[in-house]
């Protein structure tokens, strides 16, 4: 297990280093002059030259990369060109929206998917299975940003139960509070969770069906264990590994989804910050935010691999 963890951790570090190199190359090296991109095609050459000097573009690319990585390791992401404030502070503010939103969506998706997947598998090829899988197909096909708009139409415009957009903040001092903030995140989380939950329900059903055919389940049933008890005590644990793996991979889709959904609901999250920064041509913020989102995906996948190895230690032995 230790060898597995060590190897996996080294892979994580290499992947993070490679991701930072890719982001740097695409944004700082390939397009030519980053200062020109940030100021626009009509900017005065003197202003472009001054910004290029401020950004350190007169230095070799490897020195700029090393400087950026050194800053990141010390928690310094640089200063935003458009906002005039440290990128680290901007990101921290926005993470207070994006992280709870992603966790809420993943939590909702996981609960619904496990229940739906188990239900469908336990009624294999019967009406319950066919009906659940039809709903799953619909869930996969619906674009999350369209669902978000439909939810706004229903719950905010017609029923007026929930806000149509915006975020009041977590603190009552800022005019928000825990419950208003949670309400503001509910519709975005549901619109993200439906697609992810549908995919996960399908994987859960397949995994549960595979395990149901195993000898140990037949033995457990032969020893008098009820179908429901066998399902929850033996089948679910063994079906969890593929479900967890897909969950990790799905987190990438979920984060990509937050970029879109945050824009639908005008939520001041990380995705909206990236999007606004592209509009503002604030490449420093885009660079750090894209790397942060990629790093979150990589770290979640690492955590999922480790968790899967603890659930099924044979995986760690095989990988090591």
């Amino acid at each position: 297990m230790r060898l597995f963890l060590l190897r996996r951790f080294i892979t994580l570090l290499i992947t993070l280093a490679a991701a930072s190199a890719v982001v740097f190359v695409v944004l700082d090296v390939l397009p030519g002059n980053a200062a020109q991109t940030m100021m626009g095609a009509d900017a005065a050459p003197e202003a472009v030259a001054e910004l290029a000097r401020q950004l350190g573009l007169d230095q070799p690319a490897w020195q700029r990369y090393a400087c950026w990585v050194r800053g990141l390791l010390h928690g310094d992401m640089g200063e935003s060109y458009a906002y005039g404030s440290p990128v680290g502070e901007l990101v921290a503010e926005r993470l207070a929206v994006t992280v709870p939103l992603a966790l809420m969506a993943m939590g909702l998706a996981s609960v619904v998917a496990l229940l739906a997947g188990m239900f469908a598998a336990s009624r294999h090829k019967r009406a319950g299975d066919v009906g659940t899988m039809a709903l799953v197909q619909l869930g996969i096909a619906v674009p999350n940003f369209w669902l978000a708009i439909l939810l706004i139409l229903l719950f905010a415009v017609h029923l007026q139960w929930l806000p149509a957009g915006g975020f009041p903040g977590w603190s009552a001092l800022d005019g928000g509070g825990f419950w208003p903030a949670l309400q503001a995140l509910l519709l975005p989380a549901i619109s993200l969770a439906v697609v992810q939950g549908a995919i996960l329900a399908r994987i859960t059903r397949s995994a549960v069906l595979e395990v149901l055919r195993e000898d140990f389940v037949r033995t457990a049933r032969a020893k008098g264990l009820s179908r429901r008890a066998a399902l929850w005590r033996h089948v679910l644990r063994n079906a969890l590994v593929p479900v967890l793996t897909v969950m990790g991979l799905q987190f990438a889709g979920l984060l990509a989804g937050t970029i879109v959904v945050e824009n639908v609901f005008a939520l001041p999250g990380l995705g909206r910050l990236v999007f606004q920064s592209i509009a503002n041509r604030d490449l420093i913020v885009v660079r750090n935010c894209v790397l942060l989102l990629a790093a979150m995906v990589v770290c979640i996948n690492f955590a999922v691999d480790v968790l899967a190895a603890f659930i099924d230690p044979r995986l760690a032995r095989r990988a090591a």
Binding site: T11, T15, A18, A19, V22, V23, V26, L27, L30, P31, T37, Q137, L138, I140, A141, V142, P143, N144, F145, W146, L147, I149, L150, I152, L153, V157, R202, S206, L209, E210, L249, A252, G253, L255, A256, G257, I259, V260, N263, V264, V274, F275, S277, I278, L283, V286, V290, L293, A294, A295, V297, V298, N301
Partner: protein
């Protein structure tokens, strides 16, 4: 004589089986509907999708405008028909990029094994850190918004998916006895790959292509919604949704049609993929 008399019946059987398969038939019909809409729009639309008529703005569905008009008085049905083209172009090119490069890499990894395989697979693992929307944001920030950059980003994301599918299938084929026999006959790796491996993994690649096609349509719509994909005045379903969102209180139906079109296309392709999987590899159908 008896053999020849049974041949036509046999050749019809796969099609009969396909048409009786619920997922395949429904998915095929929905996909044909979207394909048909895109092709018909090349020659005919009820109105010009670019013709603005401010006197008719936000008109409800009726005889003149079947699905109503948008904020500029443009015919929504015509916009939907032409918008199908952007989605299909994005799907075809992005899946083409992934299929060509990804399959080549996967086949190379399976044929050469060793460090080549390790390198290709680690690169595939790494690229999962950049989902299509994130890749598109990266490319857009560097090179500007547009359909080409969006398609490129979606295509890049497809490469590792096809590389994995091709490698997994190819590894299984390389371990078969007929491949061993081909090697004993002196056939090289390239020839074995082209003559034996590729035809045997084609069905898995076709199934994956339908799934990725659906994902590409979703990604293109999302990017166009954000303003990073298809640019105005070219109609696209994602862009139509973005425009409709600002008019949600006055004309809620405007937000329904483009979303329904995207869902219809994605559902059709997913069902088609499921159907193809069952028909091409019936062993897999029991677990779905």
């Amino acid at each position: 004589m008896s053999a020849s008399s049974t041949r036509p019946g046999r050749s019809r059987r796969p099609w009969q089986r396909a048409l009786r398969h619920g997922s395949f038939a429904l998915g095929g019909a929905l996909t044909l509907l979207v394909l048909g809409a895109a092709f018909v729009s090349l020659w005919w639309t009820p109105w010009s999708p670019f013709a603005m008529d401010m006197a008719q703005r936000l008109a409800p569905p009726g005889a003149a405008h079947w699905l109503g008009t948008d904020a500029f008085g443009r015919d929504v049905a015509s916009l939907l028909l032409v918008g199908a083209r952007s989605s299909l172009i994005a799907g075809v090119v992005a899946v083409g990029i992934g299929l060509l490069i990804g399959t080549a890499l996967g086949l190379l990894a399976a044929a050469r094994r060793g460090w080549v395989e390790e390198l290709v697979m680690r690169l595939a693992d790494f690229s999962f850190a950049f989902p299509a929307v994130l890749s598109a944001i990266l490319l857009t920030a560097a090179w500007g918004a547009g359909l080409v950059n969006a398609i490129l980003a979606i295509g890049i994301f497809n490469i590792p998916v096809f590389a994995r599918v091709a490698r997994a299938g190819a590894l299984s084929v390389w371990s078969r006895e007929y491949v061993l026999a081909a090697r004993a006959c002196g056939k090289g790796q390239l020839r074995i790959t082209l003559e034996h491996v590729l035809p045997n993994i084609a069905s898995a690649l076709i199934v994956q292509a339908t799934v990725q096609f659906a994902l590409a349509i979703l990604a293109e719509a999302a990017l166009s919604y954000l303003g990073l994909g298809t640019q105005p005045p070219q109609p696209s379903w994602g862009r139509m949704l973005a425009d409709a969102q600002t008019l949600m209180y006055q004309a809620p139906l405007l937000a329904v049609w483009p979303g329904a079109a995207i869902a219809c296309a994605v559902l059709g392709l997913n069902l088609l993929g499921d159907g193809l999987r069952d028909l091409l590899d019936p062993r897999l159908s029991h677990s779905r």
